[in-house]
Symmetry: D2
Subunit: 344 residues, 4 copies
């Protein structure tokens, strides 16, 4: 941590700041500039409390963090990629994993038809919401436990793993008893009560990046999960909110490459929410393969215009099959190039 | 709702869209443009499901909502301002209400000292967090129920009302048994499970605007509370996230005036989170009075540099007292000008 | 400047970085942390070139600036407020200066009618565009020199000073021969060719903040003007671009208070562009007075619905007169409070 | 265009609005809703002036555009892709075109060394700035005409085409006499004086998207160029400004796919400015190929840490060569898949 004092700070003011820092157990390296004094702080562990404390001192101009505030999720803590096994597939390994299905579980017929179709197209997991976060209280809120039962039925029939969202710490045990992966939606990325609960749920968790969350905040929320006991965390870039309105959100595709540098956790892309528009989904999915994402979570519905939610961004089954064939070449090329890099 | 068809849509495609609209119970007014066909849809109630459905039809270019998707919170539903009585004060009426106190309840001594001091300065309510949403799992998470008990003690000693945050639907009953107003933090503005619970909690709720939530979304979350049974909702502008880093957030001060037009609910400003910097708090507070806010929620700590959180944006007691004196003139002027407008 | 090395940097790599820094004439204070090495750099002048150079070295994690990169415009360079005299008024002094008029100069009748009306309402300067930056090539682009002549005529008749926009370095001499203040529009805030030219124009310049420019960038553009010879610079907050669409832009009102701390230059608010909506202009104008702005630039048109541009955000004459009366009380209160602070 | 009236509008108010619309030469289709009256407007051409006029009428709630405000650049105006021939290469055709070189032209040795190296790596054009837009007046501003001469020399030696930036309408003729393509920087995307001049310059123009410009605004600026006589326009996505600070900008990669739908103009990606960080450039470049961009403009410097600008985001020559080999497979795959789609 680096602390900049205000100009004209007195000896005594500087000493007060240094004392505060030492109270937190850190060591001091003072630099005396010609224009202002800058204090370097050295030590291990999370400096946040110390940083906040000195920032509140009136003689301090500002304080800047040098080390990352997360630990377990960092690449420095663990070099090798985390690989998460879910039924027959491995997320974060060599495969490009596709999770596909409707926004909401609507009926037995709808979910079974979709499950068979996405399995035939090459998906490894079935997505589908039973608890739905909706902006309006008047919109369809999901089938709740009945929806979970239908997902379970689809899993038994098709062999696909199940990923579904949990919205409240009250529902964690229930959802964990059905799902293979529990999803945290973008609006709950900083629902810390929920994260703590999911740290102890015993199942992998997919954490979607919040609409206006930085990459650092995403990693801090992942750190919550790991610090509370759950190392099986998958991250998901699903678009952030910007001024652009041509798409529903703005996909920060480069976040995938940034996260590859900063963390060992797997990273997926959600091209459906990132674009909000069906016609853009295949193009973004190709880019996700090329940039190095570990997989996709994509919305598919047998009849998008009858979907109870997110129809405009859902692929129909034919479109999903065509997209998967289109991606095959890119996935194969990527494997081949990675193999060329791997020392024998 | 207005639906724009793609160019060169056929008669049959247009008829399909019209049929879908009629399935939802709405009436059609078709406009035939020279370049493209536009379909007007007329009817009462929330058109969201219909809008999403037609947007998913391939022949549709886009669909635009004309009416607001909220009802109970709108100015059209209720002309007169909602006034919420909390102990001796009324929020949303003629008074400018100030809620002040530390970010976190830390100790008996800290909260009592602050309570007496903000009461002396003219605050009507005491703020203080017992459950703290922290970005890092390694930071202080609040005293939980012990913190609530300390707030209760401070209320008994000073007569101030209490506002404190609730972070999980599990804690709603507990927090409601202590607090006069329950606060929903910015990161939970779209925690719909929590909002539903708070609809039935029997106490007023203050809803902070999310970091990247639009004014419309803020009103939709308020609509959740009202639709689930709680008409006593206070809104709070606390800064949104933008590219600017000179301040912690960017205060959308005009949102106060926009909300005055759109809703009958009271609106507060939080100058502490909006700026993140103590020296900017008094200036923004003056602006909040001038633009017509119903009050402030502001962080005050007897020793900001020893605060366990948010010290840099907390006023000390002397600063708070000076600010309150500074605001007096503006509040008096505002009352006088409002009175001049009121017909006898 | 503070340079963080990557973990596991070698002695030799660290020395290479230090050597680079010394090449730029700066001194080194090395801090050896337990986790990583951090290098402190000390010296006067703009460190940007040095910072960019070391950031490009592969062994460097990042480099952070401590001092501001601007000089002449900073409060540290000059304590007292800059006051700019234009005809009978002083901008940046004790008065609250109002510049009012139409978006575009459209006709002799329109500009004269407006000029008389805003003068009667208490404005000190007349605004009006002769060169208009329009998003579409098919929209009205301004009357150009004919518009300047009409402004001149209005000045002679009413005694108001004239502020008008210049869009190209080619037009600087022409516009400067008519205007009392030259305005740089938001889209040209970083048109550096234009700024250099305006540094030598001999007239005061009002610089509007860019749609997505930080406060630091605004000050750097002002530094261009001053460094090229023009100390008479007025800054203007006119709203920034965010995700919110309820208003045309989002007014960063706190920027006024931040600028008050960082610079000695006067700061105006443009409530018309900040909101895009006539009904919100008076409320934001009151906030601008309260937070300490030096004045307003506001759009007024005798018949807004016949305006060739920006009609929705223009006040009509009656509205402008009412707003000015409404502001009187706030301006008087502010003066009185400032006077109370001034030592005799 | 669709006009929504305020609730409770009178017959007479509605008729006033209709009259205004007819004054602009458009036809009316009135829809009478149960809650409010909505007026449909039909006609050809740009409705902007009419839209602005009715929006300014007090009885109007809002007015929404249905058709795009641009014409010549739209896919509807011209189905086939625009292909722009520059020396031996064609931009917008089947090839993936790479423009590479330093941020600034610094010296004969630097530009020649880079030119030979990027040609060897497979680039078709050499980039290099002679006029540099710099945030600070104290930073290197470019070699100006001397820089252009060096670029010309490099072209004669290597056969590469030249792309370089023009910052002022004053310099258009000069720059056009040297460059094969003139570049408009992000900060000048809405410098309309410059755009008008470039409409008549006789050379292709590459228009970079502004930091906070929407896709629609980018197309409107392109429309300026075409409407003023220059059909040879190349668009460039170079990242937009958001709240995320892990990268210099946020690359809106999906904009490439959106533009593919909306316009016939070629679209490039600038991975250097989009990321600001060398290590992220190859990954984003692969994504650019996969999503369908027509090429790249990328910064390369023989010794990035000695670069006078943008060193941190410049590849060195070895890195550029490795990236180009890495991209080869993706480009070949893309061609093969496109060929499979093309009817024989």
């Amino acid at each position: 941590m680096i602390i900049s004092m205000r100009r004209n700070s007195t000896r005594q003011e500087i000493e007060q700041v240094c004392e505060r820092v030492r109270d937190f157990g850190y060591k001091i390296h003072s630099i005396e500039g010609e224009e202002r004094v800058v204090i370097g702080v050295v030590g291990v562990g999370d400096v946040t409390p110390c940083l906040e404390s000195v920032e509140a001192m009136p003689q301090v101009e500002n304080a800047v963090r040098i080390s990352a505030p997360y630990k377990f999720v960092s690449r420095e803590f663990r070099r090798e990629d985390t690989r998460i096994r879910v039924r027959d597939c491995e997320i974060g390994g060599e495969d490009f994993v596709v999770m596909a299905g409707p926004c909401s579980v609507e009926s037995e017929r709808q979910i079974l038809e979709t499950a068979y179709a996405v399995a035939a197209g090459g998906a490894q997991l079935l997505r589908g919401g039973a608890f739905k976060p909706r902006t309006s209280p008047y919109e369809f809120q999901g089938l709740e436990e009945d929806g979970l039962k239908l997902l379970d039925r689809a899993r038994r029939e098709t062999g696909l793993g199940i990923i579904t969202e949990v919205m409240s710490d009250r529902d964690v045990d229930l959802v964990a008893s059905y799902a293979d992966i529990l999803q945290v939606g973008a609006r709950n990325m900083q629902n810390f009560a929920l994260l703590k609960c999911l740290g102890r749920c015993g199942k992998p968790v997919m954490l979607k990046r919040g609409l206006s969350s930085t990459i650092r905040e995403l990693l801090m929320s992942a750190e919550y999960l790991v610090a509370h006991g759950n190392p099986h965390v998958i991250l998901c870039e699903r678009g952030i909110r910007t001024f652009e309105t041509a798409t529903r959100n703005t996909c920060d595709i480069v976040a995938v490459a940034v996260l590859e540098e900063l963390t060992h956790l797997p990273v997926l892309v959600d091209p459906s929410h990132a674009t909000g528009k069906r016609s853009l989904v295949p193009a973004l999915s190709r880019a996700a393969v090329a940039i190095g994402a570990d997989g996709l979570i994509v919305e598919v519905h047998p009849c998008p215009e009858k979907a109870m939610s997110d129809g405009a961004q859902s692929l129909d089954i034919g479109q999903f099959h065509r997209m998967m064939r289109d991606l095959d070449g890119y996935v194969a090329l990527r494997k081949q190039m990675t193999a060329a890099l791997t020392p024998v």
